[in-house]
Amino acid sequence: MKKKDVAIIGYSETKINLQTGRSAYDLAGETFSLILDSVGIKKSEIDGLSVTNSFSEGANPLFASYMCDALGLTVSWLQVNGIGGASALCGVARAASAIRGGLCQTALVISADAPTTAWRSNFGAYRNEFQDPIGINGPPEMFGLIMTRYKAEYGLKVEALAKIALIQREHALLNKNACSKLKTPLTLNDYFNSRMISDPLRLLDCVMFCDGANAILLTKPENAKKLGIKKMVYPVVYAELTNFNGDKSCPNITETGFSIIGPSALRKAEMTPKDVKMFHPYDDFTIAVLMQMEQIGFCHRGEGSDFILMNEFSYNGSLPLNTGGGQLSAGQPGLAGGGVNLVEAIRQMFGEAGERQVQNPGNAIVTGIGVIPYARNWATSNIMILEV
């Protein structure tokens, strides 16, 4: 059931930074130019474009078309993705399907956002009446609710969350694209002394919004060879689930779609968690990393804290975790954040991760998380297994 008929042939990423004063288009232009240079192809080879929605251009319903125009591309396939932090990963999956279906031959998946320079999004819907007056601004409050319930059902060792924050910070120190403000070493004391945001969620459990962009290029392997491209990574399995528990009035909020798609993706790849060489999970909050470990199947439900405390997640450890620092420590460039860990996984598999290079990473799991609904856990979970 693994597919190797479409290949990832390149990636690029801008530096992630605060208040750049730049637009999503300008950041996209930079990452676009970088990927053309690194892959060594002309832009005329690209005939498909997937665009991740952005907070900074959220008021423009024609964003993908404007992006296509800004980049000077003429395409036979254009897609816009609006499943939040799951969008970059789903863009790769949709691009692969479009290539398989003959809608295009070579597709660019671009994610760019500048929410710390300009915020032009309004979620509308029920929020004005049923969420805003309560003082729920966004994900931190909802994750506080999820953590409290998890803690009550299973027990939560805070030092396990601290370990995630610390190891990812060590990785970010080795990543030249990581946000400058986050490039200071962290100690266990720093973690425990970081202020409570929304109990039991601390500041250092959370991502920080930044500006930035990233891109991925896909085509069929035979076309890649024709273009003289040597480095390839295959997105062999992909699964996605949106609006998990969306038809339940009292769902278990410690459960997510990963409990379904995680184990099934591994089965399709004919892998067990022990075979996974690198884990690049979506990391908006430390608890999200722990919950994914459990629900994808690295350990049993409720054993996430112990699993984290007993394993080594350094780039040279037994299960390298978000080796570029993840969004937690490299920064979350708005909705382009879903591409940060994806690009790092590809960089590692291309053997281009420099001093944090994982030895022979033959495969990787990359995930995405999107959209926090009313009184439930996250709405979209997606997972991709990459192989060389």
Partner: protein, 144 residues
């Protein structure tokens, strides 16, 4: 008892995305009504344009008891814009007796003493002349 920061809360605008006039009219009279799907016998909240159980528009408003218990909670300590005088404040998911959950603030309770399973009952917050907003308070014991 009136929360001294009520005036800082965003005032909801009924009917922005679906017809919620009945909900706010009932609230003004101190009644909590929620959407009920008669085909499946289930409540749903927040209000939707269809039954989330059947996809049909056969839904009605029914009054609920306003009694339940705390399914989960968090204490918000950051000073969000417009909430400077409020923090720390408690946000909870309350599970009502009728089998439906509601996001809400918990009043008349020391935030540090809120627990999962705490029995709560309705507490109406007056946000404006027109809007009574549903919140909850402990049903008995450990008041401030």
């Amino acid at each position: 008892m009136k929360n001294n920061c009520d005036s800082q809360k965003p005032i909801p605008q009924p009917n922005l995305y679906i017809n919620t006039r009945s909900f706010w009219e009932a609230a003004k009279q101190g009644k909590l009504i929620l959407q009920f799907c008669p085909e499946t016998g289930n409540y749903q909240h927040y209000p939707r344009p269809v039954s989330i159980f059947t996809g049909k528009r056969n839904i009605e408003w029914r009054e609920v008891s306003g009694k339940g218990n705390i399914y989960s909670f968090t204490i918000v300590r950051s000073s969000l814009p417009g909430c400077e005088n409020r923090s720390p404040y408690v946000i909870a998911i309350v599970e009502l007796e009728e089998g439906v959950r509601i996001l809400c603030n918990i009043h008349n309770c020391d935030p540090e003493r809120v627990k999962i399973g705490t029995p709560v009952k309705l507490y109406w917050e007056r946000l404006s002349g027109d809007i009574n907003y549903p919140a909850f308070e402990p049903d008995k014991c450990f008041k401030k």
